[in-house]
Symmetry: C2
Subunit: 402 residues, 2 copies
Amino acid sequence: MRPFRDLIPFDTAKKILFENVNLIDDTEEIPLIDAVNRVLAEDAVSPIDVPPFARAAEDGYAVFAEDTFGAGQYSPVVLKITGRINTGEFKEVSIKHGEAVEVATGAMLPEGADAVVRVEDTEKDGENLNVYRAVHPGFDVAPRGEDIKKGTRILKAGEYLTPAKIGALAAVGISKVKVYKKPTVAILPTGDELTKPGEKMEPGKIYDVNSYTLSAVVIENGGIPVAYDYVRDDVRDIERKLINCLNNDLIVFSGGSSVGERDLLVDVINKHGKLLFHGVQIKPGKPTWAAIINGKLVFGMPGFPTSCLNDAYQLLVPVLRKMARLPEKKEMIVKAKMARRITSTLGRQQFFTVTLKDGLAYPAYKTSGAITSLANSDGYIVIPATVDLVEKGEEVEVHLWG
Amino acid sequence: MRPFRDLIPFDTAKKILFENVNLIDDTEEIPLIDAVNRVLAEDAVSPIDVPPFARAAEDGYAVFAEDTFGAGQYSPVVLKITGRINTGEFKEVSIKHGEAVEVATGAMLPEGADAVVRVEDTEKDGENLNVYRAVHPGFDVAPRGEDIKKGTRILKAGEYLTPAKIGALAAVGISKVKVYKKPTVAILPTGDELTKPGEKMEPGKIYDVNSYTLSAVVIENGGIPVAYDYVRDDVRDIERKLINCLNNDLIVFSGGSSVGERDLLVDVINKHGKLLFHGVQIKPGKPTWAAIINGKLVFGMPGFPTSCLNDAYQLLVPVLRKMARLPEKKEMIVKAKMARRITSTLGRQQFFTVTLKDGLAYPAYKTSGAITSLANSDGYIVIPATVDLVEKGEEVEVHLWG
């Protein structure tokens, strides 16, 4: 038997993991239309001015601003309409003093014009235009390059592509982007008792849950889950499957790490790589370990579904997002009052799952392994390692799932 | 020309849209492993007990609890070890009084046993076991069906599949789920000036931005974007493309809706369907319209990229999520102080984009159409239609993007 000799604090475990994460360096070129929520791998520089020409900001008439000076509601200036430019139309048109060209919003301005008189400030009279309002140079004109000048870096390598950033790339005509590849995450549940959902279950067995919850968490956090066959409680099977999955960016085992005689997994890991830690001062999640094998970060998570999923939220998510160069997950936290008095274990930081109702936080668990209770819970509170009691009515911060 | 005669308040526009959304009814069966963030279309009932057998909650020895009564640190009870059951192993083993069977965490309990003595409370002495601690019946035993009883409804139709809910389905052996189909959203930017990013741009043209930002927003909110060819400013082209896209669940036009002579789109919409509203008291987004054509909701959004994207966040996202039966988007709101005095237009609810720095909110825009400013902004503040001034230093709530 192997006791957890060196339980380490949660923050230390996180720090060690962060120090050992290799950020993804491989890139791929993908169509811009598919690039939302990806991470740009190179600076984006504008090959054009945006807008590429001076354009009208309103429907109206392009004029020399000077020609309108003195115009008023009862003293219109009269100009001659010499043409019209529609949005998207290219016309080599210029205006002279005393002339006006009709323009639609977004249409390019004719050569010479420096302002737009809005349509509602004018009256058309055959070929003549009565202008009832004076405008200054630049009025309702969006000058060339106003938004983006050619050669400007519009986005930096490493930026997370939101809809607005994708829009900025489209605006300068970029249709393909180089982004970092998504990390692949090998998922290897261990245990002779595991049966694949959908298959008939023999006596003494249970259905595999962790492949499904871990895959879902990986998908939600920018990774590609790669589900492997279940690892049997057998040294040779563990070694074979470990070696087989080392081509992935991150490897996650679940189960096979309790303090029992058959705790073979950690022995194999110790033989092939460097154990970073084994045992964390958290509840659930105490038997969590991490190792480096062939330069790859390997996680060992508890087999109990609720413990495994909590571990995934607390440790896998930040590590995976950092590896994928994604921004930290934004946490939604709401305040509530504890509906009941709860006790915690001194020396272990507890993630206590709760269900919210009418501003009160109720303990979510019937029993420790109850995945249904977790499924119906709203979030969790964090009880520090130094606290063993939360009183009924005490205000707590509930971290919402998702 | 057509003025916006009937600008309606933002909340009214939202209410009208919500009244006219058809929730998705079509379903599809997909593998559970791909079902995260989808919506369950039928109740899920457990075909089994979970756990399917009474099992050990810790490594130790399965015993009759009664046999341990009176055991203490200096007065062990001595039992006879008659076997071992590993996790996942099925053995038809039973125990008699005075006997103990070694069990691993998760292993099924032998017939007759009603408690588990933890390994750390025992000492092995050949075939004998010294028990140093008394346990009560049920101690460290997870009884059959403790988590889920066979026939129990574990999830309801309409539930949003989080990782934990997916775990609950896996736990009862479900490997495929019936979910609602994702709504398809037709995206039709209009305007003769539009050029597809990646293609050479002729003078007078601009690159299409809205197909890209709208697609990104649709993907992020559970829809499938379907990008159509640009609609020309021509009645017959508008009609042809409108009819061609009515097989989608939601249709979004952008552009072609300013108050100008060439405002053809709304004429076509009026001819083929029922306009719900045209003009909303918001800034940006005033020319927004919505209609019902052949029972389908059709949106008309402004052509200016920043106005279009704001419209997408304010109106398209809630409508699309409701249609897809997804929970409302969770908003992240932070408090900040305005770095500068800003003015707003009375009578229009303004969505004012800001950039956060050191707890201060700075106006993000250089100019109204600047997609790069939007791309580098952090969120927006809402200035009610009745407010025309926000003072420097005033506390505001910033709604963060994403």
